[in-house]
């Protein structure tokens, strides 16, 4: 595949053959079905791939509880996040969905007083295991934050920074272009790659941050309310982007916007505050296919929330 025909095609991405053939992708322990050796996958095999992907968990959270000092933020979360899918975490403010998301790549480690109970397995490995290197965790599980946070560098250098520092120096400008195309930003910035990233609009900055995250080809992308600081048009662009990244990356997205979850997610988890003992603690109420969560939720609390009867 040459650089020129890499404009991102969602269908192609869903077929799961998006990673560029020929580039060694260290992080995948096994290829996505249909990814390598079958570049022109037929629709049948793509269907099989989806079926296969849908049964495989990339994260297995088991009775996870999270504490900040004496305060418990999250209790008893057990869920399997499937590979290659988009999983949305929704719920009211303070219900622990962002806390849970950040615990998936150990971004909470630097928060003072942080403590976690239970187990989170990533591809079978305990993320909080004693010999686990947090830098390696984050290299495989990338994250995009609520507020766009580009570095005060040029657009090119923003994308190239991580590959350079991770020793992926060969084909750097191709890599940057591919990441920017992948984030649907290439056409807007290709003529000003040397300009400061801080001169971009908020929506462009956020897509730049997504491009920066996918430039090192992580295995998983965690998105923490990626569109909450953006206007509806920029939000739409981010959602299209999430669709196009589906299949290529496993995506976990926290969002306040229920329509957004309904639009982008294969599965949706509803978190809420439950009073256990004296204080309200965030917990997982229901986790199911997105259509079920929004169409036929089993739990009355989920129904109240998704129909807007909550708080």
């Amino acid at each position: 595949m040459s650089i020129d025909d890499q404009t991102f095609d969602p269908v192609q991405a869903r077929n799961g053959k998006a990673p560029v053939p020929g580039r060694r992708i260290r992080i995948r322990t096994e290829p996505l079905p249909g990814a390598i050796g079958a570049p022109a996958a037929s629709t049948e095999s793509a269907g099989e791939a989806q079926l296969h992907v849908a049964t495989e968990a990339i994260f297995e959270a088991n009775e996870v509880g999270i504490f900040y000092g004496a305060k418990q933020a999250l209790i008893d979360v057990t869920m399997n996040i499937r590979r290659g899918q988009v999983t949305a975490l929704i719920g009211p403010s303070g219900c622990g969905k962002t806390t849970f998301l950040r615990s998936l790549n150990r971004m909470n480690d630097s928060v003072s007083g942080f403590r976690i109970d239970g187990k989170i397995l990533y591809r079978g490995h305990d993320i909080y295991g004693s010999n686990v290197d947090t830098v390696e965790v984050r290299r495989r599980i990338g994250m995009v934050f609520q507020k766009p946070n580009p570095f005060p560098k040029s657009i090119f250098d923003n994308i190239a920074w991580a590959p350079r520092n991770l020793g992926m120096r060969s084909g750097l400008s191709e890599r940057v272009e591919k990441a920017l195309r992948g984030a649907a930003l290439w056409d807007e910035v290709k003529d000003r790659l040397k300009d400061s990233a801080l001169g971009l609009s908020g929506g462009q900055q956020q897509r730049l941050c997504i491009a920066r995250a996918i430039a090192i080809e992580p295995d998983v992308l965690l998105l923490d309310e990626p569109a909450s600081a953006l206007d509806p048009i920029a939000t739409g662009a981010i959602e299209d982007l999430i669709h196009s990244l589906k299949g290529r990356f496993t995506i976990v997205i926290v969002t306040h916007n229920m329509q957004q979850a309904a639009r982008v997610a294969d599965r949706t988890a509803f978190f809420s505050l439950e009073t256990r003992g004296e204080r309200p603690i965030g917990t997982l109420i229901e986790f199911d296919d997105t259509e079920k969560i929004f169409g036929a939720p089993r739990d009355p609390r989920t129904r109240d929330y998704v129909t807007g009867r909550f708080g």
Partner: protein, 297 residues
Amino acid sequence: MRLLPRGEQPPLDPTLPLVASGNLRRRHAASRIIQSLSVAAAIAAVAVLVIVIAAVVTHGAKAINWEFITSGYPTGVGPYLVGTAEIVAIATLMAMPVGVLIALFLSEYAGRRWTRPVQLVLDVMNGLPSIIVAVFIFSLLVAGKGQSGFKAAVALSILEVPLIARGTQEVLVLVPSHQREAADALGVARWRSILTIILPAAAAGIVTSTLLSVARAAGETAPVLLIDSLAKGDKVQLNPFHEIPNVPVRIFQLSEEANPEGFTEAWGLSLILIVIILALGLGSRALLNRSKRKMTR
């Protein structure tokens, strides 16, 4: 007005015109007194600086000419200026890496438990009288072994370290935490983020605090008086392991001289020193403000 017990206010009548009532006039007066006292104190501080500069300029200006600046002992001060630049440069080269590393420790590595005590130590070091550092280095390196410019630079670097460390730390904490988070989330090791994201963002601040420390070191007299005061100053001395002629010692010698010529020359050299120090100080402040604006935008 009804007589009320001391401190007691009459009940508020909301229909009265909106002028000061009750004890408000007295409170206004007290407030004006405090205000004028603090204004006076500020004026006094500025006045001292203005008077000092005015005295130096009026007395020293007539001593200054090209011959005075370029020639050596006994008519000029050239070798002294070069010598001070040399000593301060060596001191800064030693102090800057240490100061920046301390600042990195404080802002990136030390937890809350270590930041405060180390900061306190630096602040105490910053207030340390230079004569104490001078005596310490004198007894350690000079007594029985002889003077040298390098030994004076060691003493000056001790005085510079806390200035550079605290100044750098101040700008490092201004580097937004979301940038560290962004770097962390990309799976890049911390030292690389520090080298390529955090330090460049704080570069202007590091230069600034270094310039400020240079300004301080250039004028410090006690260390050079004890450690590097025997150079004759008739020629430029570039070897740092010899005695190096320098400005503060020369000002001291000139002011000790019996003839009035010497006094004028002392003023003249003081003027040169003060201009250099003011330029460094004001320049670095301007640089710092610019970079702070850029970062907190």
